[in-house]
Amino acid sequence: MAFVQCTGLCKTYTVGGEQVRALDHVSLTVERGDFIAICGPSGSGKSTLANVIGGLDQPDSGSVVVDGVDLARAKDAELSAYRNSHIGFVFQSFNLQSHETALENVISPLVVGGVGKKRTRRAKGMRALERVGLADRAGHKPTQLSGGQRQRVAIARALVNNPALIIADEPTGNLDSHRGAEVMAELERLNREGITLVIITHDQAVAARAGRVLTIKDGTITETRGRA
């Protein structure tokens, strides 16, 4: 069985009294270690797909199995545990807690998951910050960091529980091209180290670096570029 196995995913939203089909019988598989980019115009349903694979959202019908976990049927506790330890999220707007330091942000999944003692958490957090080259910024608040640094803190947070899969939703969307390239380089390095990477983007330059490119339009998915 593939690492990520989506079969016949459907998801409909009601926006302003109008039914929007975000996912219309979407099926896809992702193998362990893949780097895939999901492209498409805004409102095409690509974020919905990322949220479903990431266990933040559940489909109306269809099945999604990641690393043997059946997300479509999972209860809140199971789904939360999956988000906590199996995957890492990276968002366009970083989504760091502004009142916490970089290190506190990075270890927050350990705190939420009740993992380890204070010292263990700190050590794990520092290791994750070292991996993104920000060990010297551990005590800084997000406001004291540049956009690129913030996103790298967010990546460190995604890494701290050693997940098998990182889902990045427009990770370079809020960054200039230089900082964006830095962040992409970071993510690619992690992919080379064996982490499966799913990137949502509408930036062709970002998509070009992925091993596979899938395009969503009006809720349906097509593979525009296969495995290299």
Binding site: N51, L56, D76, R83, H99, S108, V111, V112, G114
Partner: protein, 433 residues
């Protein structure tokens, strides 16, 4: 998420909004202080009442009276017989001493035969002062400012005087100087030749507003006026005269019985009633006065409860605000793996901490209020000749209970906002600006 981490997070979130947190806590503090102080006042008053009744033995006292319908407050003043009801004599005293549950018994004789008491050149009127004679066997106990209680040997003329009398005689500041002094008791004029001037020795000075002059029953009979009663019943119509004391004419005013324990009081009352006398127990007075305090306590406690209710609304308001402000944070927490339960608990703990802080600060302030009240009351107690000090205290059980209740109120008030936070759609919450 571990409980310790939840507390840490909750505390941190509360300290981010110091002003709002302080105001919310302040509202709880007001409620906590009013409830704590009111409950403490009521328990302190009841404790003071009980202990003052214990000191005089009134908690175990039953007063037997010739009249059948006196309550305790009236029976206390029933010291001389006015001829109504069943006569009390030594035979009655013996019968009552034999009743079930009785520890000791004394007859009470109102010996108000005197107009004034004199020591040296200073004298003071005692015509409106209660003069009571009893057997000094511990049934009647007095709190003493100086000297000792009456003893059997005082039948030869030992007396106790009240602090007020001692003061009027010029011994307000040094009552112990009066002990051992010989005083002169001047008879009331209306007794004419029947009563004589007497001398007595002061053995002690009594505290208590209601006390006047105490003597033993033996001395009381000695100082009683003696009347001559003549009946023209002889064969030559010559009058036949007998001499009798005031006591012989009327009998005793009442009998004080001391029950072995407070549980025996009812038994003793029933026994007295079976002998055909009225019975009134000091317990009734304690109950009546305690009931008054309980009612005051309930009313004031109710005001405190309303204050706490208003404070609870404040907690709800604060927590709803917090969930709105932190919607995005909640989304982030959910994204990194927080369950609904974790989010719900986080907000419940936070609300509980608000309640807890309010309770703790409130209890600490209540201790301060108690100290303040005592400072005022101690002066008044001293002025009224009561030895008790610091009668207002916050019982630890009340302190702990108030903190527990405010914490619980906080948590209950936090339930609704906490559930709202937990049920946020994480995807929506992450998009929230």
């Amino acid at each position: 998420m571990r409980l310790g981490d939840q507390f840490r997070t909750g505390w941190r979130n509360l300290s981010r909004q110091k002003l709002r947190t302080s105001l919310t806590v302040f509202a709880i503090v007001i409620g906590a202080v009013s409830v704590t102080v009111m409950l403490s006042l009521v328990t302190s008053a009841q404790g003071f009442l009980t202990s003052s009744f214990e000191k005089t033995g009134e908690d175990r006292r039953v007063i037997a009276t010739p009249q059948l319908d006196l309550d305790y407050g009236e029976a206390r003043w029933q010291t001389w017989a006015d001829g109504s009801g069943k006569r009390i004599d030594d035979e009655t005293v013996r019968a009552m001493a034999g009743l079930d549950g009785v520890e000791s018994v004394t007859a009470i004789l109102g010996a108000s035969y005197f107009e004034a008491i004199r020591v040296g050149s200073s004298g003071v009127s005692v015509s409106n002062t209660p003069v009571v004679a009893y057997t000094p066997n511990g049934t009647v106990r007095r709190e003493l400012l100086a000297g000792r209680a009456l003893e059997a040997g005082d039948d030869s003329g030992g007396i106790l005087v009240s602090r007020a009398i001692a003061g009027d005689l010029g011994y307000a500041d040094n009552p112990q100087q009066l002990v051992g002094k010989t005083v002169t008791l001047t008879p009331r004029k209306e007794f004419g030749d029947a009563a004589r001037e007497r001398t007595a020795t002061v053995r002690g000075v009594m505290l208590g507003e209601d006390n006047g002059l105490d003597m033993t029953l033996g001395f009381g009979k000695v100082v009683s006026p003696v009347f001559e009663r003549c009946e023209g019943g002889g064969p030559n119509r010559q009058p036949v005269c007998t001499r009798e004391t005031d006591f012989d004419r009327t009998g005793y005013g009442a009998i004080y019985l001391s029950a072995r324990t407070t549980d025996d009081v009812t038994t003793v009352e029933r026994g007295v009633e079976r002998l055909g006398y009225g019975a009134a127990a000091g317990q009734e007075e304690i109950d009546a006065q305690a009931q008054a305090f309980t009612i005051i306590g309930l009313v004031l406690g109710g005001i405190g409860a309303i204050a706490l209710l208003v404070a609870a609304i404040g907690v709800i308001n604060t927590m709803v605000m917090a969930t709105l402000e932190r919607t995005r944070e909640i989304g982030i927490m959910r994204a990194i793996g927080a369950t609904k339960k974790t989010v719900r608990r986080l907000f419940t703990v936070e609300a509980g901490v608000l309640g807890f802080m309010g309770g703790v600060v409130g209890v600490i302030l209540s201790f301060g209020v108690a100290i303040l009240l005592n400072r005022i009351l101690n002066q008044q107690l001293a002025d009224s000749g009561i030895t008790d000090r610091d009668i207002v205290s916050v019982p630890p059980t009340i302190a702990v209970a108030v903190i527990a209740v405010t914490t619980l109120i906080g948590m209950l008030a936090g339930r609704l906002p906490a559930r709202r936070a937990a049920n946020l759609d994480p995807v929506e919450a992450l998009r929230y600006e």
